[in-house]
């Protein structure tokens, strides 16, 4: 007994130098130490995977007071090319999916976003939004996904036609997706704007490569996680972070991109996109006057903007001359 106590007292003196306090009943008692937060690495999203930018470059995202938020990938021309390749490879499968299936996937995206509401609100607040504004933006984003989920298998009925040609043919016109779309997302409404341009594009069967907001990049990267858990096939949406001014010209020049969407008011960029886009007759669409928070921020016409109308003819045989009198 005595030796045990002696050992105990000796141990105690040694131990005193450390932080561990031994209590009366011999149990270790940790002082509440500050738990180290695991910082998130903000990577880009290509082909359903989360690579870093192949350039190895990064920029520092800060809030308006200059507080560092994250090291964000400064995506490169090669990232764009890889993403476009992914989007092109994904187009055949995505456009061949049943419209209903696309609707189910968009709805699941809404479910996943709803489940992560707190995370998105937190990120928006880190990027200077008030709690009320952040919550509003996230709510609207979820509802917007649900809105477009519902349109997936209905816009065709609104925008198709059976044409009463004068000759003996069956003739019908239907919308088909245009293909691979590259998008410079709204730089200000970094979550709602992003969702508002992606949803109609993929609801219509297209695949896309999107450059998120430079100043507020956190949401677009986290949104990739929502996409990744939504059964959305890899490559349908590819999300890059970086400088739109650096990447847009490469996108405009790229010969395997069918359409470009640009959401900012810069006239020089709009001109540049249309000039370079002419190289392969890209459809260049500018959404610089849209208030994404209003009803004008969603409509089936956004889907239709990225559709091509195909008209099909087939003869109707006229044999015998007999007709129905009933």
């Amino acid at each position: 007994m005595f030796s045990a106590v002696k050992k105990y007292n000796m141990a105690k003196s040694v131990i005193k130098k450390s932080n561990i306090h031994i209590s009366e009943n011999g149990l270790e008692n940790h002082q509440p130490e500050k738990r180290l937060e695991v910082l998130k690495t903000y990577k880009i999203y290509i082909g359903g995977q989360f690579p870093r930018t192949e350039s190895g470059r990064y920029y520092i995202a800060t809030n308006s007071k200059g507080k560092k938020l994250a090291n964000v990938c400064l995506s490169s021309r090669k990232d764009v090319r890889d993403a476009v390749e992914s989007a092109r490879n994904a187009f055949g499968g995505w456009s061949a999916r049943a419209a209903f299936n696309r609707g189910q996937i968009l709805y699941r995206m809404a479910e996943m976003l709803e489940g992560r509401k707190a995370q998105f609100i937190d990120e928006l607040m880190q990027q200077d939004a008030s709690r009320a504004k952040a919550e509003h933006e996230v709510n609207l984003s979820i509802d917007r996904l649900i809105y477009y989920a519902g349109w997936c298998d209905k816009y065709q009925q609104i925008f198709s036609a059976v044409n009463p040609v004068a000759s003996s043919h069956f003739n019908f016109s239907v919308p088909e997706p245009t293909g691979v779309v590259t998008i410079i997302a709204p730089q200000h409404d970094s979550l709602l704007g992003l969702v508002s341009v992606i949803a109609p594009v993929i609801a219509g069967g297209n695949t896309c490569v999107i450059v998120g907001s430079y100043d507020k990049p956190l949401s677009c990267v986290t949104f990739a996680e929502v996409l990744n858990s939504s059964d959305l096939p890899g490559g349908v949406v590819n999300i890059l972070t970086g400088k739109a001014s650096e990447l847009a010209p490469w996108m405009a020049d790229h010969m395997d991109i069918n359409a470009m969407i640009y959401c900012e008011k810069d006239a020089a960029t709009q001109k540049m996109l249309r000039e370079k886009g002419a190289g392969n007759v890209k459809r260049v669409i500018v959404y610089d006057k849209i208030n994404w928070y209003s009803d004008a921020g969603q409509s089936p016409y956004f889907i239709n903007d990225l559709q091509e109308i195909k008209t099909t003819w087939h003869p109707i045989e006229n044999i015998g001359g007999g007709g129905s009198k009933y």
Binding site: S167, A267, K310
Partner: protein
């Protein structure tokens, strides 16, 4: 009758089947020696004081002289269109607008024969085509859109359709009157006013249309027709008073226009070139398919953006199809467009004939095998025999580039996947054709061919109610039908 090697019978057309000439009379065509510009409801002299000749490509005779509009003339026309838009046309009810357009349609039908003859003289296309296709379809196009003028609130769910303003329209020489109708009718129906520039080799039917527009009492300035060449077109595209450009022509010029308007707020629709794949499966009704292929490439001398210029034949029926094609082209009569027997008329211009010859040479240099019919060609004028190329590679220039003439490239395939890949392997995407009796195969092909117009078991069919336009580098926007209204409205 001669027996061919594989024991089929073959008719000899060069002895028993000579047709006596059946020329359509020119007397109905009243063409003035000189035409001025149609601006603000009247024919006015060009500021440039210059005129240029337009000839009949069938015999190189001069038909008339038309004005060469310079930038000042373009400005005058655009201003007239703007005034007419602001003061009259924008304010007019759809109901009344429609009635003007109906008048134009009916007057065109009344004078159909005259217009058909003038179209044939100026463009070189066979009178059978002008008479039976170009003119009636043009008149019907006006008739169709006249009916939309007061029904626009039904056209776009949840949106009001407002006119855009002044439309600058540039049209090609392959269907001069029809293209004028395709441009003017929807623009007017939706409340826009128009400045139209016909192609420099085919101005006459547009100018005759101006006469009808005058007769119909269309308010001055609503439609202005200014003749000229590339410079006139450029001035029109670049004019700041034009709100919308509608262009039909080559892809190269379409890209130039896209770049030219890049920094402006001008809207545009482009209907550009094509290199359509026409696909024959082994289970196709072969005789019908051959007729469809012949029509697909030799209709209008092949001067058709949606011409079926690339034939893909399933290997198992290749020999049969090629034999039938060669037999059939022997029966095609290349000759005076005004003769009602003529199947293939004159090539529209010397320049275009040179382009076609250039491609025929390229094809031969690339190692393809050329076959032409053996028919006689008229001594004067610009003519080209129907031409087939076999042994063509997918990457051959003659298989990739638009020739715009009576030249058909022929390739083979084994499987659907293979032919789909080959058919879509082109920067163009205007039209495509498939011939097979199996319904499910039809829809597999039509859904997967990336083209704006897909013909199944038929080819080169058009209708005012049917939207026409391309994917990819064949342009964007549609003409015809409900979808043809979109190009000319702002939706609010």
């Amino acid at each position: 009758m001669a027996k061919a090697k594989n024991n089929t019978l073959k008719l000899k057309f060069d002895t028993s089947w000579n047709f006596a000439p059946a020329p359509e009379s020119k007397s109905i065509a009243s063409i003035k020696d000189k035409y001025d510009l149609f601006i603000n409801g009247a024919f006015v002299k060009p500021s440039s004081k210059k005129h240029f000749k337009t000839i009949n490509p069938a015999n190189e005779e001069v038909l008339s002289e038309v004005a060469d509009a310079n930038a000042a003339d373009v400005d005058k026309a655009v201003k007239a269109a703007r005034t007419a838009y602001d003061k009259v046309w924008k304010k007019m009810s759809g109901k009344e607008r429609g009635k003007y357009i109906y008048r134009i349609a009916r007057m065109l039908q009344e004078r159909a024969r005259e217009f058909a003859v003038i179209e044939t003289l100026d463009a070189g296309k066979p009178i059978r085509e002008s008479r039976d296709f170009d003119v009636p379809t043009a008149a019907n196009h006006f008739f169709y859109y006249a009916g939309w003028a007061d029904k626009l609130e039904y056209a776009f769910p949840n949106r009001q359709a407002q006119p855009i303003g002044v439309a600058g329209q540039i049209i090609p020489w392959n269907f001069p009157l029809l293209m004028a109708a395709w441009k003017i009718a929807p623009a007017l129906a939706t409340g826009n006013t128009v400045v139209l520039k016909p192609a420099e080799t085919t101005p006459l039917t547009a100018l005759k249309l101006a006469e009808i527009i005058q007769e119909a009492d269309l308010p001055p300035g609503v439609v202005n027709i200014i003749t000229g060449a590339g410079a006139t077109g450029a001035a029109l595209v670049n004019h700041p008073g034009v709100d919308k450009i509608a262009f039909t022509g080559s892809t190269d010029v379409g890209k130039i226009i896209q770049r030219a308007i890049a920094g402006t707020n001008k809207k545009a629709t482009l209907e550009l070139g094509g290199k359509a794949a026409n696909i024959i499966f082994e289970d196709a009704p072969l005789d019908q398919a051959v007729e469809g292929v012949i029509n697909g490439i030799f209709f209008n001398q092949g001067h058709v953006c949606c011409a079926g210029s690339r034939l893909y034949v399933q290997e198992s029926v290749y020999k049969t199809v090629v034999r039938k094609l060669k037999d059939r082209i022997e029966t095609l009569i290349v000759g005076d467009p005004l003769d009602k027997n003529t199947d293939i008329g004159a090539i529209n211009s010397k320049q275009q004939l040179e382009t076609i010859h250039k491609y025929i040479k390229i094809g031969q240099q690339e190692g393809a095998e050329m076959h032409q019919s053996s028919c006689a060609l008229p001594g004067k004028g610009f003519y080209c025999r129907p031409t087939l190329f076999t042994n063509v590679a997918q990457s051959s220039r003659i298989a990739q580039e638009e020739i715009f003439g009576p030249v058909l490239t022929i390739q083979t395939f084994r499987t659907e996947d293979e032919v789909l890949e080959k058919a879509n392997n082109t920067p163009y995407g205007l039209s495509a054709g498939v011939w097979t009796d199996k319904g499910s195969k039809i829809f597999n092909m039509t859904t997967k061919m990336r083209a704006g117009v897909v013909w199944a078991n038929t080819f080169n069919k058009f209708d005012p109610t049917s939207p026409f336009g391309g994917y990819k580098e064949s342009g964007y926007g549609r003409e015809g039908g409900l979808h043809g209204l979109s190009a000319y409205v702002n939706l609010i």
